[in-house]
């Protein structure tokens, strides 16, 4: 980008009548030609706009996949809202066909790894064998069952008389 405006046509310059007139009248030369400050600022703004557009395009390309993912999720959310409003009764009764269809499609739509396969969000769940009766994220404490006991001397030294409760914590990774 040049540092000043080369446009010598005063008509294109809002302030050309006073700033660029000398050049437009053919009086000016390389020494007398005035810079059009107004146009220079405009060019800078345009340059900044071009830079901004380029950066925006880069950002848009960078987030293209994520944007696609978000749009897909939004569509899915709207579908869910529709389903919640029109099929609430059927859904409560387990008869909402669209709900079942969405449930099957859930992984395809919501997982970012469908857009970016590098990211894997389907790691093996070691607690999967517990089944569906345990909702995710909630904490559970397995119920203690009666089992072998230490003799009372050993129990006092171990801190518990129940062998099942005696975990060896060594301050190390398991």
């Amino acid at each position: 980008m040049e540092s000043y405006c080369n446009n010598r046509n005063s008509m294109s310059c809002p302030r050309g009548a006073t700033v660029c007139s000398r050049d437009s009248l053919g009086v000016g030369n390389s020494q007398t030609m005035n810079r059009c400050d107004h146009m220079t600022q405009q060019c800078r703004r345009e340059a900044n706009m071009e830079q901004c557009k380029r950066e925006t395009n880069v950002e848009q390309r960078r987030d293209a996949n994520m944007g696609k993912y978000k749009r897909e999720v939004s569509v899915e959310q709207r579908r869910r809202q529709d389903c919640n409003s029109c099929c609430a009764k059927e859904e409560r009764e387990g008869n909402c066909p669209e709900r079942h269809e969405m449930k099957n499609r859930r992984v395809e739509v919501e997982c970012v790894c469908q857009v970016n396969p590098v990211i894997s969000c389907h790691r093996h769940d070691e607690m999967e064998h517990l089944g569906c009766e345990f909702p995710v994220v909630m904490a559970y404490v397995p119920w203690q069952q009666w089992g072998d006991l230490y003799d009372i001397e050993c129990g006092l030294m171990q801190g518990t008389i129940f062998k099942d409760l005696n975990f060896i914590f060594c301050g190390e990774r398991c």
């Binding site: 203690q144 009666w146 006991l149 009372i152 001397e153 129990g155 006092l156 008389i161």
Partner: protein
């Protein structure tokens, strides 16, 4: 139990008392466990007998074990930080 020395009795009381407390905690959440109830009663009786033998031979373990009627003997025992005393 009668033949136990003072330290042996004291150690028996310590460990039995701990086991009784542990069983009590278990029974808080498993009140109908027959195994736990049986074990609890056995150890509680053992603890009761051990305390009785100890206090009979060596003096009270707590103020509830003071049996004198004419003089308050609780303070005559060595304190835990004194020679011969322990907690």
């Amino acid at each position: 139990m009668e033949k136990m020395c003072k330290e042996e009795l004291k150690q028996l009381i310590r460990s039995t008392n701990f086991a009784v407390i542990e069983l009590g905690l278990y029974l808080d959440t498993h009140p109908t466990s027959a195994c736990a109830l049986t074990k609890y009663h056995n150890l509680k009786n053992t603890l009761k007998d051990a305390i009785a033998v100890y206090e009979k031979n060596y003096g009270p373990l707590s103020i509830y074990g003071v049996k004198c009627e004419e003089e308050w003997t609780w303070v005559n025992e060595p304190w835990p930080w004194q020679e011969g005393g322990s907690c």
